[in-house]
């Protein structure tokens, strides 16, 4: 019998409004078990609203947000037993030391791994006896990550966790994340502006623009179907005609020729282009390029 797996994260028609402003509109999304889903978007795109709905902090105006098949708003307290959260702004009470914060959390989770938390804090170099209010921004985030991983969660929700971290701290953060979760199969839902940081980490990419999910695709597929094609020694008119079979979504004229971005790269069509323009080159786009492209022009609107 074919059994549908319970999705760690799912949204259906999720709409969030603040007065007359619509932050999220009809968002539908599903994250499979073990997936690392990176949600990208400009400031104000609705990422935090989505995270707030997923964590059950906010009741959606319409639609639903669910974790492990249960409504996040209704069953928040129960669901949080399986979820680790690293917030955008570290929220450990400033008077608590790392040890005290861990002691508080330890009593709340039956699966708490104190040894793991202690080891992680040592690796991060977070002092155990210093109140959280006196820690650096990076240390606070690392403390939050250590506390989030403490109960060995099935789902980790990270809301722009590397915001304000220096490159070293950012790298350490992702290394810890990767190293710790490599064999565990934990699902990760991540919002970030740190596109370079998640390159190679995220399995699936979602891009929000003005409250709508305009991209929701496996990172590999997304990258594979997008190409930057450079055609030197062609005039704009020639390039437009030659590139037409590849249906470019963006064409820019440069001093050296023309460059175009195609959203559905077709190797055969490209080879035919090369017959006409032998110097044409196709290269993969970085996540940052894809993001810039998405927020500038809609690549593809999700159904």
């Amino acid at each position: 019998m074919n059994q549908t797996p319970i999705l760690p994260v799912a949204c259906a028609g999720l709409t969030v409004r603040y007065g007359r402003t619509t932050a999220l509109e009809g968002l539908t999304l599903a994250v499979a078990p073990g997936q690392v889903f990176a949600l990208l978007g400009r400031n104000g795109a609705g990422k935090s609203s989505l995270v707030r709905c997923l964590l059950g902090y906010q009741k959606p105006a319409e639609g639903s947000a669910s974790l492990f098949g249960q409504d996040s708003w209704e069953h928040r307290a129960r669901l949080m037993g399986r979820v680790g959260v690293v917030p955008e702004e570290p929220d450990t009470p400033p008077a608590l030391t790392a040890t005290q914060a861990a002691a508080f959390c330890r009593d709340l989770y039956p699966t708490w791994d104190q040894a793991g938390v202690t080891a992680r804090l040592e690796r991060f170099g977070v002092p155990a006896a210093v109140p959280a209010g006196s820690l650096s921004r990076g240390q606070k985030t690392q403390l939050a990550l250590a506390l989030a991983l403490g109960p060995n969660p099935d789902l980790l929700i990270l809301d722009d966790p590397t915001l304000g971290l220096d490159p070293v701290a950012r790298r350490a953060f992702y290394q810890e994340l990767l190293g710790d979760l490599a064999d565990r199969g934990t699902t990760i839902f991540l919002t970030t502006h740190d596109l370079a940081g998640i390159e190679g980490i995220a399995d699936r990419i979602g891009i929000l623009r003005e409250g709508r999910l305009i991209v929701d695709e496996a990172a590999e597929t997304l990258k594979a179907r997008h190409r930057l094609i450079r055609c030197g020694a062609l005039t704009a008119a020639e390039a437009e005609r030659a590139l037409a079979p590849l249906a470019p979504v963006q064409v820019r004229t440069r001093a050296w020729g023309v460059e175009a971005v195609v959203a559905a790269f077709d190797e055969e069509a490209f080879q035919r282009l090369r017959l006409e323009a032998p110097e044409a080159e196709a290269e993969a786009l970085s996540l940052e390029d894809l993001f810039m492209l998405a927020v500038a022009t809609p690549l593809e609107v999700c159904p």
Partner: protein, 627 residues
Amino acid sequence: MNALTVAAHELNGKRNLVLGTLALGVVLLAAPWLPWLADMAAPDRRLLLALTPSLGVALALALLTGITMTGSDLQERRAGFYFARPLSGAAIFGGKLLGGMAMALAAAFLVLLPTLLMHWRPTWAQVPAALTLLPITALLVLATMALGNAASISLRCRSPWLLLELAALTLAGLLVWGALRRMLAMGSFLTIKWLVAGILLGVPAVYLAAGFWQVSRGRTDLRANHRALATATATLLLTLGLLAQAGSLWAVRVRPSDLRKPGLAGAQGAWALITGTPRWRGDFPTSLLWNPGKGTSLNLGCLPDPLEALFAANGQRLVYWTPNLGKDNAMVLQSVDLGRGAPTIRDTGIRLRPGFHPTALSQDGRRLAVLELQGPEAGLRVYDVDAGLALVSVPMAPCTTARLVFLDPGRVRIYSKATTLLADEGDIQEVALATRRLTTTGRLPAGTGLYHMERHAGLDRLLARLATGNGGHRLILADAATGAERATLATVAPGHTAKAAFLPDGGVALVTVQQMRAQLHLLDGQGRQEWAMALDTPPSRIMVLEASGPDRLLLGFRHLAGDAPHALEVDRTTRTAKFLGVFGFFPRLPSLEGPFQGTLFTRLTRTQSGPMLSRDMPGFYRLPMDF
């Protein structure tokens, strides 16, 4: 369990603050050495000295915790630390509340501890009293925390929901004030205590419940918290206000069947004035106008003295005085027209300064005579009850006590005594209202007690009791206008008892108890004996002796002090007596008209024929007079 984790976390975070209060307790030991506190050295005074700052510290910490328990986390966007854990909103708020309360109580105890250790040597009797301080302080702390939390959220957010809170608070206040006024008007002071206690407990409970709702629904967003808090507070406060209104309506809407141990203050026409304490309403005394024929009633509230209420002889009106509480404390005359339609209470506008004023109501109920006994305004004043105006004012010499009676709507008779001495004679005067002329018509015999007199209106005769000076007394029949003695009915030696009452035709019933022999005498209008009968057992006290019909009289008495009263009805024509039963309280016979005429309403505990429970009056027994 999770709430306890949060509570322990809260307490642990502020343990240094709590321990710091111990230092204050130690400092207090030295307080009596301060010059202005030198008289506080006695152990009991030291305790008092320590209790005040102890309570102060508890409340200050409660306020501090209340203000910060959710507000600061929300404002600094740190509430997610708790909400990202497997903690329900109730566990978060409850835990913080519990932790804050434990902290405040622990701090209060630590402030008190040094003084307790050094100076308190409690007796066993003191321990329960001391322990009652704990729940009282805990309640105060909880209330302070809940109110502090609500104020903190409202002031930090300052969203338009604050207007809803303020509007609800105002409306609820008005509802409660209305309820209090209604109960004050009815004089149900004990119920007011309940209401005030309910409000004192209810308001903090509202804010506590609203706090739980706020955290459960608002979660990590300050504005959403304020919205949830404001809607819950408004809903609950209005509910509390409506409950107060409903409670006060219930408390003052008393029916005769609600009265415990009802008594009869008077009856005329179709209406009886009954008094008693309604069940489950704080035992406040109330008076009801009751029409047994129709089963309707009107609550007059708590009258200062229901026996001073006056029925018009034609049964068309009742007037009574109520205090104008909180204003000039004057006595205000209320009038209830009983003639037609549903009776309603009307403020006549007639006011008197507080104090004792003999009064009389004319037979038609339209005029009220009031005597001012002393002072520059001493004299008789007659009012038009319908218009609320003084009609006539006749100055008189001051007197100490008096009784008034309308002879007809234009004449008032005054029986008065200038001194308080019982042995002195009194005056009998009449005022003709048309001419405002005061005429002395006679003298009351020396020894006459004004409140031991009974007048027969038809014959204008008096039954009076005259003290003989040696502890005994005489019962006489006298002319009501002149006071001239017509006959001596009985001479009663000290320690013996006698009671006389007019019968409708002017005859007199007389009971004498002397030398353990009790006799009932029936006399004619001249005081001549018609017949007499011996009573089986001599009563120790005669409580009621009055006509229960043209040829019947009711005798209520106790055999022994402390006994339940017995009732006996005597048929004058057959010269037989019938034992009615043993009563739970003093029976009085209403001179009612209509289907219940001749019916004795009382709570019988035992009768010969067995009591009959009236259907429309649960709790009352109706004893039919079958002759």
